[in-house]
């Protein structure tokens, strides 16, 4: 660990903090702090809770089902970020459980890492319809909006399943007993959307916030900040990632988001429908909207809250109400090799991260 991280740890210890539950809402944060073993280094009573920070995990089952059926039954090429391919949906034994299984059955499904790859594929195959299944938060949807604003070919269609980060936090703050005392806001979402977006947590709920980057030093600085804010009863949105984050964010990117997308009520797997929390294409882009082109594969009957596999604790994990290792399926039979729930699939899922770093003893 770098010296600067030790300095922040010393500062935290010097505060002699009261018990505190600090929520993070970013898989990147959870990965960094787990990898650095920060849980075991913090004073007793300070809990670090992973919350709804994994876009793959909250992508609703009906959207994955829609993508699977589309790829199986239409003459199209479906592309999606790699993590999405292995996420299982609930089907009978004979059914196709994931995009990966659909691919094995002959559907043309390809993993991609960037929107530019979808664009290149569409340009290289003008006679073929390319469907880009987009799950992600603002950090992914802003680049997709930029791509659309820059101009895309007629044969590139989008199946949008994007989500805004802050409404999930707002939901946690409005659902009965609040399970956390401080928030670490996501550094790259804030790079795009601005640190000011989190001001409501301080103003409306008197909960301290720090925007943090992904190094142990930046995360520790964030923890120290929220502890100190509590002690001094002086709450604000602290920016511990000023290298990239400004109060306003990337204004141009926000304009594209507004130009390309409209904000709708959206279903979150394990959570349910949250008002004003999802992205959908604006009507002017209807020609590129896969939902409009192929409405027959949408199955509203699959739309229900908390549709996790039987026994799976992903819903409680995503809501920050249960740690991954408290799930009855964790490790047996659910592992990254044969995941049962989405949190064990994604690199950003809390269960997958905990399994890799086994921080159980450090809780």
């Amino acid at each position: 660990m770098a010296d600067s991280a030790k300095i922040w740890l010393n500062r935290i210890n010097a505060l002699q903090p009261q018990p505190l539950r600090i929520l993070n809402v970013c898989g990147g944060h959870e990965r960094s702090l787990s990898q650095a073993g920060l849980r075991s280094l913090l004073p007793e009573g300070v809990e670090l809770i992973p919350g709804p920070g994994c876009p793959v995990c909250v992508c609703p089952e009906e959207d994955i089902y829609h993508a699977i059926q589309l790829a199986l039954h239409e003459k199209v090429t479906l592309v999606a970020f790699g993590d999405m391919l292995r996420v299982p949906v609930n089907v009978g034994k004979q059914g196709v459980r994931s995009l990966a299984q659909a691919r094995a059955q002959g559907a043309d499904i390809r993993p991609i890492a960037t929107p530019q790859q979808a664009l290149a594929l569409a340009r290289d195959n003008p006679g073929r319809q390319i469907i880009f299944f987009v799950a992600g938060f603002e950090t992914t949807l802003a680049p997709v909006a930029a791509m659309v604003a820059e101009g895309i070919p007629d044969n590139l269609l989008l199946l949008i399943s994007g989500r805004l980060t802050w409404p999930a936090v707002a939901l946690l703050l409005h659902s009965g007993e609040i399970g956390f005392d401080a928030l670490i806001a996501p550094g790259h979402v804030a790079t795009v959307m601005g640190a000011n977006e989190w001001q409501f947590v301080v103003n409306d709920h008197q909960i301290p916030v720090a925007v943090a980057g992904f190094s142990p030093e930046s995360l520790l600085a964030g923890f120290w900040s929220v502890m100190r804010q509590r002690q001094e009863r002086r709450l604000f949105v602290d920016n511990c990632y000023s290298e990239l984050v400004t109060p306003q964010g990337n204004v141009r990117a926000q304009q594209w988001l507004q130009q390309v997308f409209t904000i709708i009520a959206a279903n979150w797997r394990g959570i349910g429908t949250i008002a004003d929390s999802g992205y959908a294409l604006q009507p002017r882009y209807i020609a590129h909207d896969a939902r409009q082109h192929y409405p027959d594969y949408a199955n509203d009957a699959r739309h229900r809250a908390g549709e996790m596999p039987p026994g799976c604790g992903c819903a409680a994990v995503i809501l920050g109400r249960q740690y991954p290792h408290q799930c009855q399926l964790y490790g047996n039979p659910c592992t990254p090799r044969s995941p049962v729930g989405p949190c064990m699939v994604s690199d950003e899922g809390a269960c997958h991260i905990w399994w890799e770093h086994s921080p159980v003893n450090g809780v």
Binding site: P55, P115, G136, T140, F214, L244
Partner: protein, 76 residues
């Protein structure tokens, strides 16, 4: 998906840039930074192939160290 990777710009052609990180080169879009002055040699934070902001060399290098550890733990 949310994991950003810092890269250094090697060449710029319109909104497209050739960037490198630790010897690996990638095509990156600068479309989201069109209000900024961006030059060869600058460090940028990349998300799904798009630069979302400029950053200092020091910040980029500390992120790369983090990735080294990440990769080491993945391969362990």
């Amino acid at each position: 998906m949310c994991l950003g990777i810092p890269m250094q710009i090697v060449a710029i052609n319109g909104y497209n840039a050739r960037c490198q990180a630790k010897g690996v080169e990638r095509e990156v879009s600068l479309f989201m930074l069109q209000d900024e002055s961006v030059a060869v040699g600058d460090f940028v934070m990349i998300h799904v192939g798009y630069a979302i902001n400029k950053m200092s060399e020091a910040e980029a290098r500390s992120s790369w160290e983090l990735f080294d550890e990440l990769l080491a733990s993945h391969h362990a």
